[in-house]
């Protein structure tokens, strides 16, 4: 049974459920505790020890059901059909005997054993299916059965001929069952097939598959980024010796001096979370990447506690509440359609956006705030208002500008990127997850 569980773990891992060694040991202990008699209890036990999130539980359920599903032989309704009149004879091969006596369990066992021998868990491509079918049939002793058929059809009494016909039919049925079995095993062990389950799950949410995968990866990257931003903040603060008196610590440290306050200790406020303000362009010029940028904004909102998000086109509006209230697909839809947000989707005006930001958001920007701007800086030849960006730079800790266009386009046409660059701590091209990863890496400095 251990080997069977191992195979199940293998199938689960291939489907994208992360199972560590300790978890697989827990699962084995759990299985031996509850026993194998009751399918549902075994399933629950394995589920709680192996699958540790909702998605994983769903994958687990489908995997478990397919893994322990019945094959054609075990189904008592549909044993290999063979007329009951035929008799066993000494010369019959073991496989023919099982077929004739309708021994479903025996056939099933023999098939599974043969599958184990040819290592069905190693199947990867659909082209291998036929190979495995033949190997398993061979392992079950099909050659013996073929010899029986030949021998019987050479004889000329009626019963032998009928028996040969019957065996031929049974042979086809056998082939069908083994094919179904291999098909099912392929579904379990081959990656392409299990990918499909994940994709089916992903299709349930309205993001496109690509986006969803990006989104998941983005989460990880953003977590890393938040940590980086954290580190930069915290390190600075630790060296400071100012702050208010930490009475508890002082008393503790000064117990050694008879309670005389000989060595005061200070409480330094540690800032653990970065304070972020994000401004994102949603105009038509960035249409192609705007979903990406909004996804980025959304995941940023999930990861950072103190964040304010704004979107702008002809004017600038705050959207933090949209991100907080709605699920990702709905939030994106609402922002892209601009329902009830009061955003004007006319000509992009960075000058106006900065002016609006000065009115609404600048008050809360402190020297600990990181301002992230997402946009192509294409201002339709309007006034770039660099002095406003300079003001934001002065008030904030730093400005990071992520531009969806490659650097060679910056400053060409109506792009004002070159003019904005001096006020930014970091300007990077960013239109894919890979770019984002690079941006986060460069934040290490």
């Amino acid at each position: 049974m251990e080997q069977v569980l191992q195979n199940l773990f293998d199938a689960l891992r291939r489907s994208g459920v992360r199972i560590s060694l300790s978890e697989s040991m827990d699962a084995m202990r759990a299985a031996s505790l509850v026993g194998y008699e009751q399918r549902q209890i075994l399933k629950d036990s394995l589920s709680i020890t192996l699958a540790k999130s909702r998605i994983e539980k769903e994958i687990f359920d489908s995997c478990f059901d397919r893994f322990f599903s019945q094959d054609g032989f075990s189904d008592p309704e549909a044993g290999p059909p063979l007329s009951q009149t035929t008799e066993l004879s000494e010369e019959d091969s073991p496989l023919s005997r099982m077929v004739i006596s309708g021994d479903g369990t025996g056939l099933s066992m023999s098939m599974r054993q043969a599958a184990q021998v040819v290592n069905i868990a190693g199947i990867r491509f659909f082209t291998q299916k036929n190979l495995y079918i033949h190997r398993i049939l061979k392992g079950m002793g099909l050659e013996g059965m073929d010899r029986d058929i030949q021998r019987l059809s050479r004889q000329d009494d009626m019963s032998s001929l009928a028996k040969a016909e019957g065996l031929k039919e049974a042979r086809d049925v056998l082939f069908e069952y083994v094919r179904a079995f291999v098909e099912q095993q392929f579904g379990l062990f081959a990656e392409s097939a299990t990918e499909k389950i994940i994709e089916k799950y992903l299709r349930g949410v309205r993001l496109s598959n690509l986006e969803q995968r990006d989104f998941d990866r983005m989460h990880k990257i953003i977590k890393k980024m938040v940590k980086r931003l954290n580190d930069i903040h915290s390190r600075r603060r630790k060296t400071s010796k100012k702050g208010c008196l930490d009475l508890k610590k002082t008393l503790r440290e000064n117990v050694a001096y008879q309670g005389l306050l000989f060595e005061p200790r200070w409480k330094a406020k540690k800032i653990d979370r970065p304070d972020i303000v994000a401004l994102s362009d949603v105009s038509r010029s960035v249409e192609a990447v705007s979903r990406f940028m909004l996804l980025f904004l959304y995941s940023l909102n999930e990861a950072v506690a103190r964040i304010r998000s704004f979107i702008f086109c002809s004017n600038l509006v705050e959207v933090s509440h949209v991100f907080e209230e709605y699920q990702v697909e709905e939030a994106l839809e609402r922002i892209q359609s601009g329902t009830g947000l009061g955003i004007q989707l006319g000509r992009t005006d960075y000058g106006q956006a900065f002016r609006d930001f000065k009115e609404d958001g600048l008050g809360q920007v402190t020297n600990k705030t990181t301002v992230i701007v997402l946009g192509d800086a294409r201002n339709n030849h309007g006034d770039p208002q660099t002095d406003l960006l300079k003001l934001i730079q002065k008030r904030s800790k730093r400005i990071i500008w992520l531009n969806p266009e490659p650097p060679s386009f910056w400053g060409i046409g109506d792009s004002e990127m070159k003019k904005y660059m001096p006020y930014c701590y970091l300007v990077k091209e960013c239109s894919t997850v890979r770019h984002l990863e690079r941006v986060v890496d460069s934040l290490l400095i």
């Binding site: 992360r18 560590s20 300790s22 978890e23 827990d26 202990r29 759990a30 505790l33 509850v34 549902q40 209890i41 629950d44 036990s45 589920s47 709680i48 020890t49 699958a51 540790k52 999130s53 909702r54 539980k57 989460h219 508890k248 008393l251 503790r252 117990v255 008879q258 309670g259 653990d272 999930e302 506690a305 209230e325």
Partner: protein
């Protein structure tokens, strides 16, 4: 955990029966989890939407097993001095002042600073002994002779640092106090962690726990729960009420009604002596289970249909 608790957790059916007697209807999956948690000595991480009885599960476990419930509510900024232990500074200070005079006696007969120090070193750790330790929930749970149910509530609200700090207690049932050393559990506590999934918990934490997901119950289970919690309610009304709530859960709402709200509603209907679920009575009591004005609007639109369906038992 005690011997008799072992008996109480001896089989899955026994757990189901016992919990129901204590007022908590648990399905087979929950019972299996409790059974395994006891036998594998593993903490349980319970996830699920708000109000499906995650915290209640721990409370009932403590009631059923007859051991104390020690609860640690997590929040942002929770640290080990609030969760694990704290020194009794006042006591330490007071004792040093009182014992000042004793110092002469102790140091009597020593020559020079080095000798005095050497003599003092023999006593050095007394002020950082367990007498001066103020145990907080985690330490308290380890010190219970009879064992305890430790409930770490809403662990997703705590910081990542705190989550990492929990790992030691979750895997080995021990904590390290730098001044004293490692303190192990006298009796291993039954640990429940609950999470509302406001953030994903770390792999390391999940690896150490059994993971139980409690979804909203299906109508049969919910009827059973109402029957256990509000037994006075008539069978008819209970069926209608559950059917209505299940329909409400199918709508697109900001906050879907939880089990606790269903129970509240059942109690209210009982107080009002309602005999069946008429649209009027729903309208009057709708704010019991819906907490947003927008949601109430949404339900109002479908109210007649849904009430009709609930009464007709579809």
């Amino acid at each position: 955990m005690r011997e008799e608790n072992g008996l109480k957790l001896d089989s899955i059916e026994e757990i189901q029966r016992g919990f129901e007697a204590s007022g908590y209807v648990c399905n087979q999956q929950i019972a299996t989890t409790l059974y395994l948690a006891y036998h594998l000595e593993k903490p349980i991480l319970v996830e699920g939407p708000a109000g499906v009885g995650k915290t209640e599960l721990a409370k009932t476990a403590s009631k059923y097993l007859g051991i104390p419930l020690i609860r640690l509510q997590c929040y942002e900024g929770l640290d080990e001095s609030k969760a694990l232990y704290e020194w009794k500074y006042g006591k330490q200070l007071l004792y040093t002042q009182i014992l000042k005079d004793k110092l002469n006696d102790i140091l009597e007969g020593t020559e020079g600073l080095a000798a005095s120090m050497a003599r003092l070193h023999k006593h050095d750790d007394i002020f950082f002994s367990s007498d001066f330790l103020e145990p907080r929930p985690l330490l308290k749970a380890l010190q219970q002779e009879e064992g305890a149910v430790l409930l770490i509530d809403e662990v997703d609200k705590s910081d990542q640092e705190f989550e990492a700090f929990l790992l030691e207690i979750l895997s080995d049932f021990q904590v390290s106090v730098p001044e004293i050393g490692t303190i192990g559990a006298i009796t291993k506590p039954f640990v429940f962690l609950t999470s509302n999934n406001t953030r994903e918990m770390s792999e390391a934490l999940k690896r150490r726990c059994l993971h139980l997901f409690i979804p909203f119950p299906d109508s049969r289970l919910e009827r059973r729960i109402i029957q256990v919690r509000v037994p006075q309610l008539s069978d008819d009304l209970r069926r209608q009420l559950v059917s209505f709530i299940q329909q409400v859960r199918g709508l697109d709402l900001k906050k879907v009604p939880s089990i606790s709200e269903t129970i509240d509603w059942a109690r209210v209907l009982l107080l009002l002596h309602a005999s069946s679920l008429s649209p009027d009575i729903i309208k009057e009591t709708i704010n019991i289970f819906l907490k947003f004005e927008d949601d109430i609007e949404v339900v109002r639109e479908h109210l007649h249909d849904m009430a009709d369906r609930a009464v007709r038992g579809l």
